[in-house]
């Protein structure tokens, strides 16, 4: 059994960590948090130069042609650094949708542009409140144009193109949904920035008014493609969440060692130690579940749906738990704008919703376990 990343993959992780420590300091994250820029353009350029944006994109489409395990280790570091860039929208959602369902021309047009950092992509799925479900897709597609409103769309205000879920039928079945590619810089698209929990990753409302769109994948296959995209993204996001959990745990641990109260390090009080030990437990469970997700993703295993849901649940819970208790360990200082704790708290809680809520994924896990047990 070799349930671990290879030495090369670990080396890539170290390389990414070193690069991000230099180019994505908390100060750099704060520049975006404080609204000085919608995302860190310099960092995005650097990520492209390092080959990180296209690590899982095949060489024929301008990528590094490595694989999803390599992408997982980079994702972990992106989460650890709280990187203020549209990485998950572009790389986990848009690029994966193109890899799964794009035709040759579509892949040739967008994948090299993603890998080089020239194009930012996103997935436009949600229409107000609610979780991923065919019935919640109301935006319509007819005669090559889209009409309707999507919100929230992650990184929608800075994206060059979007994969859009649209209604193309009214049978009440999953096959009512199809996917489309839309150039957001073309006509018929109105984009409005929305304020959100985590300003280091923007959210937008996008109104499509007779916006020109080309089909991505076969008509009526939209929901099945989307399910695969969300599963893959769930694993990749889980690695970001694992990275964030570890960082929040480290911050709490370091503060508990530095801070003196009642004449001793606060980390010597069991109330604090046990809180940190429980954070370690959550982070460890999340990491192990995510490794299984990585294995399933990289081998395209039949276990991916179940593995992705378990990784998603475990990593969401761990990041929320670690980010929340990191503030608690810091006490009053943790509640200041000046300390970095709230950046992880914001990111953890925003990520918990991005691909659908925790309860949605819990539901998915039970369905998938039942399906397996029945088989």
């Amino acid at each position: 059994m070799n349930f671990d990343f290879s030495d090369d993959q670990k080396q890539l992780r170290d390389q990414a960590r070193k690069f991000l420590a230099e180019k994505c300091s908390p100060k750099a994250v704060r520049a975006v948090l404080d609204g000085k820029a919608p995302y860190d353009k310099e960092l995005w350029k650097g990520l492209a130069e390092m080959g990180f944006l296209g690590v899982a994109i095949p060489e024929e489409f301008g990528g590094a042609g490595a694989g999803h395990l390599e992408l997982c280790v980079i994702a972990e570091e992106m989460g650890r650094a709280n990187a203020p860039v549209p990485f998950s929208s572009t790389v986990y959602l848009a690029a994966e949708a193109l890899l799964i369902a794009g035709n040759d021309a579509q892949k040739k047009k967008w994948l090299p542009a993603i890998a080089s950092g020239e194009a930012i992509g996103t997935l436009a799925l949600f229409e107000g409140k609610g979780n991923p479900a065919p019935k919640n897709v109301k935006l319509t597609a007819a005669n090559g144009v889209l009409n309707g409103i999507k919100k929230p769309v992650a990184d929608g205000a800075i994206a060059d193109f979007a994969v859009v879920a649209a209604r193309t039928g009214s049978s009440g079945r999953d096959s009512d949904v199809s996917l489309f590619l839309v150039d957001l810089k073309a006509g018929g698209v109105e984009v409005k920035s929305l304020t959100n929990l985590d300003p280091t990753r923007g959210q937008a409302e996008i109104a499509f008014k007779d916006a020109k769109a080309e089909p991505l994948g076969a008509a009526g296959e939209g929901w099945s493609i989307l399910t695969q995209v969300l599963d893959r993204a769930a694993v990749l996001c889980a690695f970001e969440q694992v990275g964030g959990s570890d960082r929040a745990l480290e911050m709490g641990r370091d503060y508990a060692l530095d801070r003196i109260a009642f004449g001793r390090q606060i980390g010597s009080f069991q109330a604090v130690k046990h809180m940190l030990a429980d954070m370690y437990v959550s982070a460890t469970l999340a990491r192990s579940n995510s490794y299984y997700g990585a294995w399933a993703l990289s081998t395209n295993a039949a276990e991916l749906p179940e593995a992705a849901a378990a990784a998603r649940i475990s990593a969401t819970q761990a990041f929320q738990h670690c980010a929340k208790n990191n503030i608690q360990v810091h006490g009053g200082m943790g509640f200041t704008w000046e300390f970095d704790c709230h950046m992880y708290y914001r990111r953890a809680n925003a990520m918990a919703l991005g691909l659908g809520s925790l309860s949605y994924w819990e539901d998915q896990l039970i369905d998938r376990m039942r399906k397996k047990n029945a088989a």
């Binding site: 641990r253 980390g267 030990a277 990491r287």
Partner: protein, 414 residues
Amino acid sequence: MNFDDTPQEAAFRETARKWIDANAPKEFEEELSKSSLGRIRLAKHDMVEVGKAWQKKKAEGNWACLHWPKEYGGRGATPIEKVIWQQEEGVYGKLTQPFQIGEGMCGPTVMAFGSEEAKRRYLPKLASGEEIWCQLFSEPSAGSDVAGLRTRAEKKGDNWVVNGQKIWTSGAHYSDYGLLIARTDPNVPKHKGLTMFFLDMKSPGVEVRPIRQANGMQEFNEVYFTDVVIPDSQRLGAVGEGWSVSLTTLMNERMSIGARLATGVPEMFEFCSNLMLEEGLAIDDPAVRSKLASWAAKSNGLKFTSYRTISALSKGERPGPENSIGKLVSGMMLQDIATYAMDLQGAAGVLTGNDEETVQGQFQQMLLSSPSMRIAGGTDEILRNIIAERVLGLPGDIRVDKDVPYNKIPTKGR
């Protein structure tokens, strides 16, 4: 990343599988698969006798304590081979319960500190199950703070004379030998006045009394010592070094890597899949699904954590600290699952007999037994301290009795 055996591992697995297939007591397979949550009951047979027979057969085939050196009754197997063996032994591994303390704790301590003569005399018989060992550490006033123990051993010529009481001794009533830690000097601080011994449990003055537990069962014992004589040749390590000797024992206790801890999740999943609530099947209820999914994700997390540990072993590396979370997570989960399963049964959940509504009271039994999972082998609180101190590097507790002679430490709170 893969779950495949190396060629050597695959060959070893094949050898083990074939041997088990030819030799395992298959007549008990069904009963053993049904016993869960650490409780093994065989309707018509004595568990210890059946266990001894299986252990003896394994020893004859060189499969008992296989990671031990050959000269002490083992096979000289690598850690990963031991894990593979445990996976293949499967349900029959439950029969090894009476020998686990000997194999996991007493044996390694004798191996590390015993004389060559003692090792050759005792270890092969321990491995083959011919002689069963128990561990005599905890006392009524020394649980988590085991170094505060009171049992006295006094030197008389070439012998030691022991007086005192131990508690929570699993298997003392069927054990042949015991590993005993006792106080040999009460005038020095508590950690410095301890010494380790082993003794014949049939020695005059040893009295074993079963304890009736909170769940109504009797699995543990109290052991009383009245002027029990132990020859100095049965001392392990130097006089006054008992604490550091005991750390070897306890470290081995936590190395049970291949063993899967019961979490209650498979039982709960099956229960919810079959239970009709007023609105339909329990597993279709959003509240039930949410809890069940969280537990399933935790339980999977534990499984894959152990895979990470096994992978490190397979590469010949030392496993990381991640395996330390197992008992902490599974103990709490068992208790939570039992409570919730009973909640779903409504008023009938109070019944503990062979009632259909309560699936023969399995979760009620789980509820009553689960507190011990959170205490035995290190309480949840001690485990959190270990994670905080050894994994995260946080400071140890301030120990107010550290430099105080043992006989000056207060013994009552008020």
